[in-house]
C-alpha cells in the first residue's frame, strides 16, 4: 500500500507510460507495485507471510488471465475454475501416470483448456449478458461433477496427491523461495502480456467486440473469432495457473479446485481492482488476497465465518463507491490532483 502512494506522488510521462493507471499504458503505480513485490519476495523470512505472498502472486496472475476474457472481451465467466481444474488435473495426471514433468504438463493443460474454452464460446455463441454468464457457471459445474465421478482418472473425491519429493524437474521444491519466484514470474509474465494486449491491434478488436458487436462487425472484425480466441487464450493462461497451484499444494480434489468459489474469486478480484485494465487485477489481488487471508487467520479462532462477512462488506463498498475499481479510483484521484496543481500554476501566473 505504501508503494501505491509513493507511486502516484512521482510523475513521469512518455509514450505508453503514465503516472496514474490507465488502459494501454504501464504506470508508475504498477512499476512501483511490481518492484515492491520483487523486493518483498526476496526479503521475506516468515513462512506464513511467504505463503500468503505465494497465493497472492498466483491469484494476481489468475485474475489477469480471467480479465482477458472478462475485462477486455466482455466475456464475463463464472466458470473459469473449469480451466483452472483442467490445468491442475492434466499436468498432475501426466506426472503421476507417465512421469511427464509439469513443465511440459502445463503446456498440455493449457492446450486442453484453450480447446475447452473455445468450444464453450462457440456453443454459447448466441448467448449474451446474464445468459452467457450462467452458461459458464453451468460449464464449471459440469467439470466439477465430471471430476468427482470419473474416479479412474481423477481419483474422485479422494483427490490426487503429488509425492512431496523435491525435484526441480518435477517442479516440487522443499522451500518456499522457488515457489515465490515461480508465482512472481507467472504474475509478471501475465501482467506484461495483458499490457501488450491492451496496446495491440488484437486488444482493440477485443474492446470493439465487447462494446458493440454490430459496430465491430461493420468495420470488418469477425466477432465470433475474436470471442473464441479471447476465451481460449484466457482459459489456457488460467490452466497454467492451475498447474502451478497443484505443484505448490501437492494435492487436488474437485470440491476445492473446480469450485464456483474459485471462479467468483477471479471475477471479484478483477472487478474490485478494475475491469479491462492490467492494473485492475494486479492491484485487486495484491489487496484482496492478503486481506482475506489475514482476516481468516485472525478471526477463525474467535468468530468463525466473520471474515467472510467483513470481506463481503469491503467488496460491496468498493463496488458501490468505486465502480471502475481501485485502479480507476487511483486514476481519478491522480487527475484531480493534476488539475488542482495546474489551477495553482495558473493562479500564480495571473497573481
Amino acid at each position: 500500500m505504501a508503494a501505491l502512494t509513493t507511486g502516484t506522488a512521482a510523475a513521469g510521462t512518455g509514450p505508453s507510460f503514465s503516472a496514474a493507471p490507465r488502459r494501454g499504458a504501464v504506470s508508475i503505480v504498477e512499476v512501483a507495485v511490481l518492484s515492491g513485490c520483487v523486493v518483498a519476495a526476496t526479503l521475506i523470512a516468515n513462512r506464513y507471510a511467504a505463503d500468503i505472498m505465494i497465493r497472492t502472486f498466483l491469484w494476481a496472475g489468475l485474475a489477469l488471465a480471467w480479465n482477458i476474457a472478462g475485462g477486455y472481451a466482455g466475456l464475463i465467466s463464472f466458470g473459469h475454475a473449469a480451466f483452472f481444474g483442467i490445468g491442475a488435473y492434466t499436468s498432475t495426471i501426466l506426472l503421476l501416470r507417465y512421469g511427464v514433468p509439469p513443465w511440459l504438463g502445463l503446456l498440455a493443460g493449457a492446450l486442453l483448456a484453450a480447446g475447452a474454452g473455445g468450444v464453450l464460446t462457440v456453443v454459447c455463441a448466441r448467448l449474451r449478458g446474464p445468459f452467457f454468464i450462467l452458461s459458464t457457471l453451468a460449464a464449471g459445474e459440469v467439470m466439477r461433477i465430471a471430476a468427482l465421478n470419473w474416479q479412474s482418472l481423477t481419483g474422485g473425491a479422494e483427490g490426487l496427491e503429488i509425492p512431496p519429493l523435491p525435484s526441480a524437474a518435477h517442479m516440487v521444491f522443499q522451500n518456499q523461495p522457488p515457489y515465490l519466484a515461480l508465482m512472481l514470474g507467472y504474475m509478471v509474465v501475465l501482467f506484461v502480456l495483458a499490457n501488450a494486449i491492451e496496446q495491440s491491434r488484437y486488444g482493440y478488436y477485443l474492446f470493439a467486440v465487447r462494446d458493440d458487436e454490430d459496430g465491430a462487425s461493420a468495420i470488418g472484425i469477425n466477432p465470433l473469432l475474436v470471442r473464441v480466441s479471447a476465451m481460449a487464450l484466457s482459459a489456457a493462461l488460467t490452466a497454467i495457473g492451475g498447474t502451478l497451484f497443484a505443484q505448490y499444494f501437492l494435492y487436488l480434489d474437485p470440491t476445492h479446485i473446480v469450485s464456483p468459489d474459485i471462479s467468483f474469486e477471479f471475477a471479484l478480484i478483477s472487478a474490485v481492482g478494475g475491469l479491462g485494465t492490467a492494473s485492475g487485477p494486479l492491484l485487486g489481488a495484491l489487496i484482496i488476497v492478503p486481506l482475506s487471508e489475514l482476516l481468516r487467520g485472525s478471526l477463525s479462532q474467535s468468530a468463525s465465518g466473520l471474515h467472510l462477512v467483513i470481506y463481503g462488506v469491503i467488496v460491496v463498498v468498493v463496488m458501490i463507491y468505486f465502480p471502475s475499481g481501485i485502479s480507476g479510483a487511483i486514476a481519478r484521484a491522480w487527475s484531480a490532483l493534476a488539475r488542482k496543481a495546474a489551477a495553482r500554476r495558473v493562479a500564480k501566473k495571473t497573481a
Binding site: Y204, D211, A218, G220, I221
Partner: protein, 242 residues
C-alpha cells in the same frame, strides 16, 4: 459497382422488400427515399449483410455478397453507418475512429494518421480525447460517419445521418458528403431530411411498400405523381397532375 437483382426479403408473411433491382455506378451519390415502412432499412441491412435475402442476389465489385456476413462485406470496402449510432462506449472518439483504420493499416501509429484526417473531415477533431458517452446525438452521428469513412471504403452506405442534427450541422455534413465522390467514395444514402438528399444526391430511388416505384434525378422524381401519391395519398397525386 453495386448491383441488386430481384432482391426480396420476407418476414413471416410480409415481404418487407420485394423484387428490388437497381445498380449503383462508381462515383455516384444515390439516395433512397420513401415513407416510413417502405423497406429502406431492410434493404440497407440486406446490402450490408446484417440479414440475408429470401431471394435474388447482390453483387459488389466482382463479388457476390448475397450471403456474406457484415464483416466480410466490410472487408471488401463497403462501409455503413447505423441509424442508431453504435460507438465503442468505453473508448475515446479518437480510438473509435482509429479502430476502423486498424484492420487495414495494422499498426496504431498509421491507423492514428488516418483517424486524424477523418476526424478533421467530420469536424470532430477537437473532441478526439472525449469519451464517447459524453457526445450529443448530433456528434454521435458525425462519429458514425467518421468511423465508416476511416475504413477507407469504396462504397459508403449512409443510414439517416441527418436525423438529430441542427440546420447548421446538416449544411456542413451535406457539403462534406458532396465531396466524397472526388475522394473515390461512392455513396448510397437513405434519408428522411428531404432538403439534404434532394440537393446532394445525383439520383434518387423511391421505395414504397417494399418496391421501388420511381428512379431518376431528384427534380424529376419530386414531380412524379406515383411518388407524390406514395407520400401524400392518391388525391394529391391527381391534384398535382392538374
Amino acid at each position: 459497382m453495386l448491383t441488386l437483382n430481384a432482391v426480396g426479403r420476407r418476414f413471416g408473411a410480409l415481404w418487407a422488400v420485394r423484387d428490388v433491382t437497381f445498380a449503383v455506378e462508381r462515383g455516384e451519390i444515390v439516395g433512397i427515399i420513401g415513407p416510413n415502412g417502405a423497406g429502406k432499412s431492410t434493404l440497407f441491412n440486406l446490402i450490408a449483410g446484417a440479414i440475408s435475402p429470401s431471394r435474388g442476389d447482390i453483387r459488389f465489385l466482382d463479388h457476390t455478397i448475397t450471403r456474406a456476413k457484415p464483416y466480410q462485406v466490410a472487408r471488401l470496402g463497403l462501409a455503413r453507418t447505423f441509424q442508431i449510432p453504435k460507438p465503442f462506449k468505453q473508448l475515446t472518439v479518437r480510438e473509435n475512429v482509429m479502430l476502423s483504420a486498424l484492420r487495414r493499416h495494422g499498426t496504431r501509429r498509421r491507423a492514428d494518421e488516418v483517424a486524424e484526417r477523418t476526424l478533421e473531415f467530420a469536424a470532430i477533431r477537437h473532441l478526439a480525447e472525449t469519451p464517447v458517452t459524453n457526445l450529443t446525438v448530433g456528434l454521435l452521428k458525425k462519429l458514425e460517419v467518421a468511423r465508416a469513412l476511416a475504413t477507407e471504403p469504396s462504397l459508403l452506405l449512409l443510414d439517416e445521418v441527418m436525423a438529430g442534427l441542427t440546420p447548421t450541422e446538416i449544411r456542413e455534413l451535406m457539403a462534406a458528403i458532396a465531396t466524397l465522390p472526388q475522394r473515390g467514395i461512392t455513396v448510397l444514402w437513405v434519408e428522411h431530411v428531404m432538403m439534404a438528399i434532394m440537393n446532394v444526391a445525383h439520383r434518387l430511388i423511391v421505395m414504397h411498400q417494399g418496391r421501388t416505384i420511381a428512379e431518376g434525378p431528384p427534380a424529376t422524381v419530386a414531380k412524379d405523381p406515383t411518388v407524390i401519391g406514395a407520400y401524400l395519398g392518391e388525391t394529391y397525386a391527381h391534384a398535382s397532375r392538374v
